[in-house]
């Protein structure tokens, strides 16, 4: 077995794969943020709280109606997506014409409220949620032990990411959406209900966050602060990828997962700073982000 920088290659391959898996979560979350920013021009700071809601709804479904992981994977995003639609109708729709700052403040406030409510009812230690039976166990790949659940995470995340990218960039519906962001008045003139489309887009972005939340519940601690811990990193991912760029969010999500994974091998103490160092460098060299378009 050969070594790279003193680390056995076996361990290195393992860490690369682990990085990709963690990147799946970054990609899923930053994808939702990018969709919302790209289409609505809203910096959705409550994304982390909505991710947390997804996990909590999954827990509540299991606890009170006996719905397990698989149904929750569909039901929780729909329920949380509906709350997103309500938020958009009640508050966000009035903010599109104003400065970004207003949307940011509103969603940040919402995030604080959601977290506070969850902490009040469930405490901060967390709630139990186990890996579904069909995905328990794992297989030995020779260079590492891969839990079945992690393999599923990577497959599901890639499918959802590519699917979303395809719908927005390659279908008629996506074309309407993109056109509506460029020039809503003109698109309206063609008889398309632009406000409803925008509302549903926000609902979809929120549902993506909740989907990531359900995916996270079996392996991460389901606690009120689970979202706020992750959201800062995810914002860095979006900034590095380029605000509003769908492809950028997906590629940087996976890429930074790998970078972070490697840092955990070579210099673990820096593993939660490395992404911000990269962000600073990218902002210096390419202020619009790796995949962003200038101005």
């Amino acid at each position: 077995m050969f070594e790279i920088f003193g680390i056995p290659s076996q361990a290195l391959f393992g860490q690369l794969l682990i990085g990709l898996i963690n990147g799946s979560f970054y990609a899923l979350l930053s994808l939702g943020l990018a969709v919302i920013f790209g289409m609505l021009n809203i910096i959705n700071f409550s994304h982390g709280a909505q991710y947390m809601m997804g996990a909590f709804v999954a827990y509540l479904l299991l606890q009170y109606s006996g719905l397990g992981y698989w149904p929750a994977l569909i039901v929780a995003p729909i329920l949380v997506g509906i709350t997103g639609v309500i938020v958009e109708r009640l508050f966000l729709q009035w903010l599109y014409k104003l400065d970004h700052l207003y949307g940011l403040l509103l969603t940040f406030g919402l995030a604080l409220i959601l977290e506070g409510v969850a902490r009040n009812y469930f405490g901060s230690a967390g709630l139990p949620y186990t890996v579904p039976e069909s995905l328990q166990g794992g297989r030995n790949l020779g260079f590492m032990f891969l839990p079945n659940y992690r393999a599923w995470v990577i497959v599901a995340s890639l499918t959802v990411c590519i699917g979303t990218w395809f719908v927005i960039e390659r279908t008629r519906l996506g074309a309407y959406l993109r056109a509506a962001t460029e020039n809503p008045t003109l698109v309206r003139a063609f008889g398309i209900n632009v406000p409803r489309m925008i509302t549903l887009t926000y609902g979809f972005g929120v549902a993506l966050a909740a989907f990531a939340g359900v995916m996270a519940a079996p392996i991460y601690n389901v606690s009120p602060q689970m979202g706020s811990e992750l959201i800062i990193v995810v914002f860095a991912v979006v900034v590095i990828g380029g605000m509003g760029s769908i492809l950028g969010a997906i590629v940087t999500g996976f890429g930074l997962g790998v970078v972070e994974g490697l840092t955990k091998v070579f210099f673990p103490e820096a593993s939660n700073t490395v992404i911000f160092v990269i962000m600073a460098i990218v902002l210096l060299v390419r202020p619009a982000g790796l995949f962003g378009r200038r101005g």
């Binding site: 056995p8 076996q10 361990a11 393992g14 860490q15 682990i18 990085g19 898996i21 963690n22 506070g116 902490r119 009812y121 469930f122 405490g123 901060s124 230690a125 967390g126 709630l127 139990p128 949620y129 186990t130 890996v131 166990g137 794992g138 590492m144 032990f145 839990p147 659940y149 992690r150 079996p218 392996i219 991460y220 601690n221 389901v222 606690s223 602060q225 689970m226 811990e229 992750l230 994974g261 955990k264 091998v265 673990p268 103490e269 593993s271 939660n272 700073t273």
Partner: protein, 404 residues
Amino acid sequence: MRKTLGLAALAAVLACGAANAQQLNVKIGVLSDMSSLYADIGGPGSVAAAKMAIADFTKDHPNVKVEMISGDHQNKPDIGTQIANQWFDVDKVDMVIDVPNSGVALAVSQVAMNKNKVFIVSGAAASDLTGPKCNANTVHWTYDTWMLANGTGTAMVKTGGDSWFFLTADYAFGHALERDTSAAVEKAGGKILGKVRHPLNTNDFSSFLLQAQSSKAKVVGLANAGGDTINSIKQAAEFGIVKGGQKLAGLLVFASDVNALGLPTAQGLTLTETWYWDANDTNRAWTKRWHEAGAGATKYPTMIHAGVYAGILHYLKARLDMGPGEHDGKSVVAKMKATPTDDPLFGKGTIDATGRKRHDAYLFEVKPPAQSKHPGDFYTLKATIPAKDAFRDPKDSNCPLVGS
């Protein structure tokens, strides 16, 4: 007539003065993490425990008037220092209690020393508080890293877990816990194969767990706390660490963490605590009152909450014995050390010269779900470690207060 009235007024004033002289006024500040990862092990539950202690003490001693305030240090030493300074200087607080997070506790301990007030630690773990960083104003009540290391570490080595790999939280507490556990393991004849230091509040441990797995150590020691420990244990189960023959040692696991993990994931875990809510009828009755005092009914009190309660009782007892008037922090702590402790939750105990409160510790194992009879029925008692062995001998503490 006028003269009589005047005399009566004078008498009334004198009587008032006498009553005032006998009344003892005390102000206590509960400084904790109210809204983040340690809010369930301390936080609002500690405030509830403090209220209970004050209510119980003033019921028997109506001439003692106790005021309580609470604050959120947000796990930041600078904020903790700032609140402690303000409490001591402006709000005239006599004693600060709790302070989970060793980084913050070490900082507040300095403040208490500089202002010559009293600091009772219940939430923080670093044994440095009664070691090299000890002072005559600080009492460390509930538990510490030496006791955790000695309890869990020694027990694991004795049952065959003689090679260790550490996952360590990268701050004062984690370092202290790793250092004390390494010492306990090596003393018992085990060896340390490696360690990895992760940032506080890490979400994903898979990378670190892979490193632990490839180290082939028999025991993976978790020198972390709260959400970090929960995430490590959850993901260790996923990566088949225990199925692969390695054992997990949760060096600091609270009842609230076991609740968050659920018994299916946590079963079999060995851990050390100094107080368990379901250990006897007294504790269960106390827990019932604790729920009524404002802590959430679905939560379980931790040993930290019990320590806040017992610490306040002992402090008030010392103040009552010293009588009314101003007393500086050092003399109060000296009085607390001179008086043997006795409270319903920890029983009889002492405070040694370093400020270390000494009581029994218990080695527990988390029950499998099938054996758990009611909600919160988490542990089986494996061993009781007597007070004299549970905590570090003051001679080995490197504390300047102990003459060599």
